[in-house]
Each structure stands twice: as C-alpha cells, then as structure tokens.
Amino acid sequence: MSAVKSVSASSQSTIEYALPRLVKIFGAGGVKNLYGYSTGFLVSPQGHIATIWSPVLDTDRLSVVLHDGRKFEAEVLGAEPHLDLAIIKLKSERELNLPCFDYKEKVTAGPGTRILGFSNMFKVATGDEPVSVLHGVIEARTELPRRRGAFELSYSGDVYVVDAITNNPGAAGGALLTYDGKLLGMIGKQVRNAKTNTWVNYSLPIDVLSKSIEQIITGKFDSSEDQKKPEMDAPQRYRPVDFGLVMVPDVLYRTPAYIDRVLPDSLVAKAGLQPDDLVVFVNDELINSCKTLNTELGQLESGDLLRLVVRRNNQLISIEFQVPPENK
C-alpha cells in the first residue's frame, strides 16, 4: 500500500488526510521562552519525521505522540542547521506502517493560494487529540528579511509568508498544505520582519527542504555546514572615496547618502555626478543611509559593473562603470 494518497479536492478532505500525518513532539525546554514542545510531520511509513531544528531536540528523552495518542520514543537522525531542519525517527521493535507525506514532490505555489497550517501551537492538543488547523492564503514567496540580533536564525532563502497566524509557540515544524492537499512547507520559528519590525508568519518551502530530508533518511547526508566558509565580517574592499566620492559626514542613525564633494578627474566626476546628488541605488540595492552605501561598495570586486542611481532635484540619474582594481 502506498503511503501517499492521491490529491484531495477540498479543504475538508485535506484536513482528514493530513491530521494522521502530524505529530506532537516533547523534549527539552520548559524554562523562560524555551518551549519544551514542537510539531513534526511524518515523511516515511517507517516513522521518519521532519521537524524544526531547535533546542527541543537536545535531549535523550525525546517523545513523540501521534494523532491517535500512541506515544513513541524518538531519536535525532540528522539535522541541517542551515535549513532549520531535523529528521527524527520513532523507536519501535516492530515494523511500522504509518501514513506519511510525499516530500519528494517539489510543489510550489504563489501569492493568493489558499493554505492550511497544521501545528501543535501552544500545546493545545493533548493525548489522542490531533493538532490544530489554521487557514489563510500565501501572502508572498520571498526572502525572509529577519531582524538582526533579535533571533538567531541560520536559514536565509525563500520562504512562504502566509496571512494566517501560523508561527506560534510550539508550532515550528508543523506542515503547510494547499487546500487540495499538497505539502508546501514546514512552519518556521517566531521571528520579526526586519524591514517592517513586525512578527512574520512563514514556512520553509518543501522544494528547498526536499533534498536534505531524503539525504538524511537515506544516510547519504553531507551537511553543507562543513563546506560553508567561516563567517566573516562584511568585506570592506572599496570605499566611496575610491571612486572619487566624498560623502556628507555620517552623523545620524540614517544619514541620507548625499554627495559632499566629487574628486576632480575621478570615475564619478567623469560620469557626471555632482555635489548634493543623493545616492539612492547601488546595483539595484536601495541605499537608505551612508552605512548601507559603505556596505554595498565594500562588497564590490574588481571588474564588477557598478551601477549608481542618484537623485538630483527631482530626477533620477543613472551612471555605470567598471570597478577598477583595488588600491592596496
């Protein structure tokens, strides 16, 4: 018997299909803001569960409760911290044959798509109670702008932002499904959107997670962590003055990037930039302060095409030139 059921046609049949595939996870935590519980979903009939990589898993006494109340001990099989993903496996003497999701089908969906969010948020489901279901639509599929410093989150990449309040305590590791029953993603942690400073409800897309889930289950996993370059400070290869720009003194939290002076015969002088021009874009990145200008210029490499857009009076003026070799 196949573990994967054919696609359902309505939200009700999808809910009926999904609930037996969601599990409640209990582990370490219970102090302060660390919740000792989270959510997971079955990805193999043998009891492999995809869930969020979190301190909840950091224990020898990890337990998992199925929708019907059956309780298992579980062990962490592997994790991909860069995706906030962990795979745990139920311990069982007998061969298990559990219903599960098809994670290999790399389903994607766009804004406006109706979704159902399944999770053990706030631990409201106990014993043989299935997890809670929320509904909404996808607001956007976008790169998550996290508020730096507020939360440690290693994942950076596309997420689904949804208009249902899915990201609650204990909800991380839950499943996001389309109304017609396709697995779209895994509900993420609680984070704030750095650009709007508001809480954001997001899920990690299944097409991003799929490969790592398979690799961990099959034991062929090679964490990208090892290959990843050590974290470095942002590079500081170029400064505005390297192109002939002298900016106004950076005195405010967000000093607008106004040009104070243009060095004679410099690259920008030849391109026609003038004092009092406001730099607004560097290679399509919005420059909202002198600090972001420094960051963007610092990352350039010799030979890159540098496109600067400045605002002069009420006009936008665009210039381009090649980045010269670094001045050592």
Binding site: K195, V280, L286
Partner: protein
C-alpha cells in the same frame, strides 16, 4: 457557467451518480482561490512600491521600518496615494517603483491627518488608474483582499478576508479581517473582482496619533479608507496643503460614547461653536440635519470632518420657545484663550456702599495701567464707553478682551474726568514685591460675639456629615466687608492644622483672608468623591461669612496638591487660585476660560527631585495661558519643614491680588 450547468445535467442524466460530477467540477474553494489571484492580477499594475531614504529611526516607542511600503496610483499623470504611516519617520527622499520596474523620485504633496493618507507625485504619464467599486455595493461579509508591494516587486502580497464592518472609526473606514500591517499599509483593499474598495491605513478608535492603530497589525482588525472618500479628498490634497481634523470646541455633559446627556458642558471661548453663538447649557439635538441623541452619534458626525468644513447645529435653549440653529466652520486648532490684563486692584468697599465706578487700590508695576499713567485713587467710570458699576463688571469686560487690544477708559481723578487709552497686557507670571494691605475698619471680638458671629479658631462639621473641618476667622472680622477664603487641603496622613494656623494667622488677619481646613474622612488619603464635601464646606462658609468670590483659593502641600487641582479643575466657578508647595501638576488642566480665570502658584525646593518634572510642566501650563507663579527655593531648607515667612508672605500677596483686573 451555463455550459458547465449543461454538462452537469448531461452527466447526471447519463450516469445518475453524483460522485463523478464532483470529481469533474473544480471545488468551490479552488474557484475562489482562482478569483483571489485574478483580483490581485487585475489591480496589480496600479500598486506601486515606495522606498524612503533617511528619516528618524524611531517615532515615539515605535521603531520605524526601513523596508519598502505600498501605494496606489490615483491619476494617469503621476498622483499616488499611500498611508501617512509610511512617512512618519519624515524621510528626506522618497522613491517610487512601478510594477514594470521603472523608478521615479517622488514628491510628498500633502498629508491628510484625519484619514491618515499621504499624496505623492511622480513625473510619469499614462499610468494605470485602478477601477473602484461603487461604495453602495460594498457590503459586510463580502470578500476583501488586501494587497501590498513590499515583499516582491513582480507580484503583490495577498491577504484575504471579508468586510467586517462599514463606517468604522467614526464613519471613516471599512473594517476587514484580512491581515493588515506595515506589509500592506498604503496598498489597496479590493473586492473579488479586483475593484478597489479603499486604501489600507492603521487607525484606532480611541487615539489619533500618527502611529495609532499599528498595535492592531495582523490582528484581524484592519481598516481601509473608502476609495470614494480618497478620490474626494485628492483635489484638496493636490493643492499642497495638509488637511487636519476639524474642531468645534464643545464638550458634552455626560461621559462615555453611550451617554445620552446631550447638554453642552462647555463651549470653549473663541472656538467656532462659541463664535457661532452656541452656549454652555444648550442641549444639542441635531448635527448636519441628523438627529443626535447619543455621544457616539455626535462623534460620528464631527470626527469625520476636516478643519474648514462647515457643520450645522440645532440646540434647545432654556427659555427659548423654538430650537435654535447655528452654522459653524471647524478649525484645525483651538487656541487657548488669553485674557487681557489691565493691571489694577480694585478698592474693597463696604457692601452697602454705593459709589459710581471702580476705585483703584493698587497699580501693578510695568502693567498696562501704569504705562497709561493710571494712579491708585483714580476711579474708573467707563470702559470702552460702557459704564462700570463694580469690579465684577469691569473684570468681565477686561477678561473677554485679549492682550494687545486697546481700550478707552473714562476715569475721574481729583474730581475731574478724563479719558485714558490703554493697551492691555497678559496677566503676569510674577507676584508684586510690595503690596500694601488695604486696612479695613475693624471690629472687636466682643462686637462680633454680640452679633452672634463666630470668630477665631473653630472646629466644626457639616450637618449630616461625618467629616469635620476647622476654620479661622480673624478676630477683627467685619461683616460689612468681603473677605478672601483660603481652602487648606492637607497632605495625606497629616492635617498640619497647627502649622497652618500658626504660620498663616497674622498674614490672613492683615490681608483679610478666612482660612478653612476640611479634613479627609480618613486622614490617610483624599477620596475623589470627597470633592463634593469640600465644595459644601466652601458653600457653607460663603453663607455664613462675607466672602469675595474672586478671592477663593486652594492651598496645599506635597501630595495633597493632586486633590487640590482636582477641586480647582472640577469647580471652576468656585476657585480662582491654587497655590502648592513641593508638588507637581499630575492632572491635565482644562483649557482657559475668560469667565473662570484661574491663577496658579508653585513653590519648590531646588533640591527636590520633582524639579526636573515640574520645570517643563510650568512651561506647558504657561503655554496654555494660565498665569503661573513659579518660585524655586535655592537655599537648603531642612527636609520636611513647611515654608518660611518670606515664601508665605509672597503667597499672601498673590492671594491678596486674586481680584486683580
């Protein structure tokens, strides 16, 4: 649709099985989902992304976002409407990106501070203006889709909900349960066909600050300003002038939005309502032709109007047979009224003495009266061609004029009449360094005893009341003259009766002031509802002794001051002054009113940490045009000691000049 129907009937006829049909027809949910996406795609070309450069990182407690926000095209030639919230950081530069990727610098044309919208202008042509749904078609329960352009440039963000209510926040907004947040503020709320219902903004029913309502983001309570209202206001905004909520200047008697007490408690002096002829005590019955019987109905009309908008009122007035109609034009700001000040103290005359005009007892230094050459002993007979028979009549005329206004006085000096022109000034924030007392013909205690007038230090209670009070009536009290009344409000925990009595006795005798000291029922604290008791004590003193209504004032120390200010602001017709030591102002003063002048006096030890708090308060209340004396004691007084002689005498001079004109 009819094709589908035909197919269904055919299938039914052929197989007789319902299951097959369900498998063939897309589920309603999927059709709806398709409609959401089509609605978003339909309006998509008209939603722009707005980015800002520079500006404050914080507005109040709110950290402003740095991310992009949204706006909606409202004219082919580059007008874009957005939420005012998106510009609260006062950015130095605004950039607009169209869905096709073209970027433009934008001008902030004007902001609507009532509906919290900002109009931008970019230099572009042939822009797609979205279709608006006629307002009459919008109904509660309809699908409403909130769109923004903050996440991705190529596709708008989508949140789906229904219309939860119409005419919310005093008639201003459509309410929706779609998730509204900085992600889509400034974006459109559209119906299932992609027609714009309104522009998404944060709003709050109780507050009107520029960040009000943001705390409700993503809560299922979101608001949009109806598109028909937006389009109506765009020509006004396009003139470049900001629009503000309109103010009328009336306060109703009852409390709370559900109150049905429609009597006007106050009509602010100099406000549009007062200038239109509306008076305190009138009962409001209609606004703009609609009957109003509840406070919320009044808000519904008035809180949806701009400064410059007209409003018509109908009131019932006691004594008027017919209801009266008025028309007023609302204003942006109600300017606190400042009464003019002539700079004299009137002679205190015996009650039964009848003499033409008002005699001058004292001229304030550097006052309008001094500049005009008035002298003590002069008599003012006429003020602006109106005969003045007593100080009250003169004060009424002067108080209703403003500083800088000129007046013509007819005075008599040495039996000769002459006219004097004066330019009124503002009442001073200082006390005269010297103020000679006005000697009254005194009586002896024995004479008073014979007339059964109690004098001296008394302890009494009101009939039928548990609470007690003490009083001191100078032994030389003369019932032919009016006296000032000092109402001592003791600090919690200590009546300070003997201190006050001993320290103030001689000053009060010299300056003709009676002391009364009501005691809190529980000396530990003043209860708010004890204001009534204090008022009754004052009323009873007024009945038994000759009290000058213009010289009734409150005196307090430390934590008793809060209750003293409560009293002063509640019974404005009763009290003319409040003097407090070692205290700040914890209560917000009402606006000034020329009919109820109120003077304030603060004494504070410079070493008192309250100093930091008080200084800006003094500035604020002087800004409200309350004459406010502020004396900072520089020397190190031993802690806990009451004021010294010099300070008490200064307060005495201030109390003795509360009847100034």
């Amino acid at each position: 649709m009819s094709n589908l129907f035909r197919l269904l009937t055919l299938l039914l006829a052929l197989s007789g099985s319902v299951e097959i049909i369900q498998a063939q027809a897309p589920h309603l949910e999927i059709l709806e989902e398709r409609a959401f996406k089509q609605a978003a795609a339909f309006v998509n070309p008209s939603i722009v992304r707005i980015e800002t450069v520079g500006g404050q990182d914080r507005v109040g407690k709110l950290i402003t976002g740095t991310g992009p926000t949204s706006g909606v095209i409202v004219s082919r030639d580059g007008l874009i409407i957005s939420s005012a919230f998106n510009f609260i950081g006062k950015p130095s530069s605004i950039l607009v990106t169209l869905p096709d990727g073209r970027r433009f610098p934008a001008q902030n044309v004007a902001t609507d501070h009532l509906k919290m919208l900002t109009l931008l202008k970019i230099d572009a042509q042939n822009l797609p203006v979205p279709l608006a749904i006629p307002e009459s078609e919008i109904q509660v329960g309809m699908w409403s889709i909130a769109l923004g352009r903050t996440f991705e440039l190529d596709q708008p963000s989508i949140s789906v909900g229904i219309v939860s209510a119409l005419e919310r926040i005093w008639g201003k907004a459509i309410q929706t349960d779609a998730k509204i947040s900085p992600v889509n503020y400034g974006g459109p709320l559209v119906d299932i066909n992609g027609r714009v219902m309104g522009i998404l903004v944060p709003l709050s029913p109780g507050a009107s600050a520029e960040t009000a309502g943001v705390e409700w983001y993503d809560s299922g309570i979101g608001f949009a300003i109806p598109m028909s209202d937006v389009l109506k206001v765009i020509p006004r905004l396009n003139t470049g002038k900001d629009l503000y909520p309109g103010l009328l200047g009336i306060t109703l008697t009852g409390q709370g939005d559900l109150s049905t007490d429609m009597k006007l408690d106050r009509v602010r002096y100099g406000s549009p309502a007062q200038e239109a002829g509306v008076k305190a005590g009138d009962t409001l019955t209609q606004l703009d032709g609609n009957a109003v019987a509840m406070h919320s109905q009044v808000k519904q009309v008035l809180m949806n109007k701009y400064a410059g908008d007209a409003v018509s009122l109908v009131v019932k007035r006691e004594g008027a047979a017919e209801p009266l109609s008025f028309k007023a034009t609302m204003v942006e700001k109600l300017v606190p009224f400042e009464s003019g000040f002539l700079g004299i103290l009137p002679q205190r005359t015996a009650i039964n003495q009848v003499e033409a005009g008002v005699g001058i007892r004292f001229i304030f230094s550097k006052s309008a009266a001094e500049e005009a050459g008035l002298k003590s002993g002069d008599r003012i007979l006429e003020f602006n061609q109106q005969k003045v028979s007593d100080p009250g009549a003169l004060a009424l005329l002067v108080n209703h004029l403003r500083p800088e206004e000129t007046a013509e006085l007819l005075i008599s000096r040495d039996q000769k009449q002459q006219t004097v022109k004066v330019i009124l000034q503002s009442p001073p924030h200082t006390v005269e360094a010297e103020l000679p007392t006005q000697a009254l013909p005194s009586r002896t205690a024995a004479e008073n005893q014979k007339d059964k007038i109690k004098t001296g230090h008394l302890k009494e209670e009101l009939p039928g009341s548990e609470s007690t009070y003490w009083a001191y009536i100078p032994e030389n009290y003369n019932p032919d003259y009016e006296y000032g009344l000092m109402v001592w409000i003791h600090p919690p925990g200590n009546t300070m009766e003997s201190t006050i009595f001993n320290e103030w006795k001689s000053i009060c005798e010299q300056r003709g002031i009676i002391i009364v000291g009501p005691a809190a029922e529980d000396v530990i604290r003043w209860n708010r509802d004890e204001t009534e008791f204090v008022k009754e004590v004052v009323e009873s003193m007024r009945k038994r002794y000759q009290i000058d209504n213009t010289r009734i004032f409150l005196l307090s120390h430390g934590d008793g001051s809060e209750f003293a200010f409560d009293l002063a602001f509640k019974y404005r017709e009763l009290f003319r002054g409040v003097a407090v030591s070692e205290a700040t102002l914890n209560n917000k003063p009402p606006e000034t009113d020329p009919d109820y002048p109120l003077s304030l006096y603060f004494v504070l030890n410079a070493a008192n940490p309250l100093n930091q708090l008080l200084q800006p308060q003094i500035e604020a209340i002087r800004e409200m045009n309350y004459p406010t004396v502020f004396e900072l004691i520089k020397k190190e007084d031993p802690a806990g000691q009451y004021l010294d002689k010099t300070r008490l005498e200064a307060i005495g001079r201030w109390a003795d000049s509360l009847d100034r004109i």
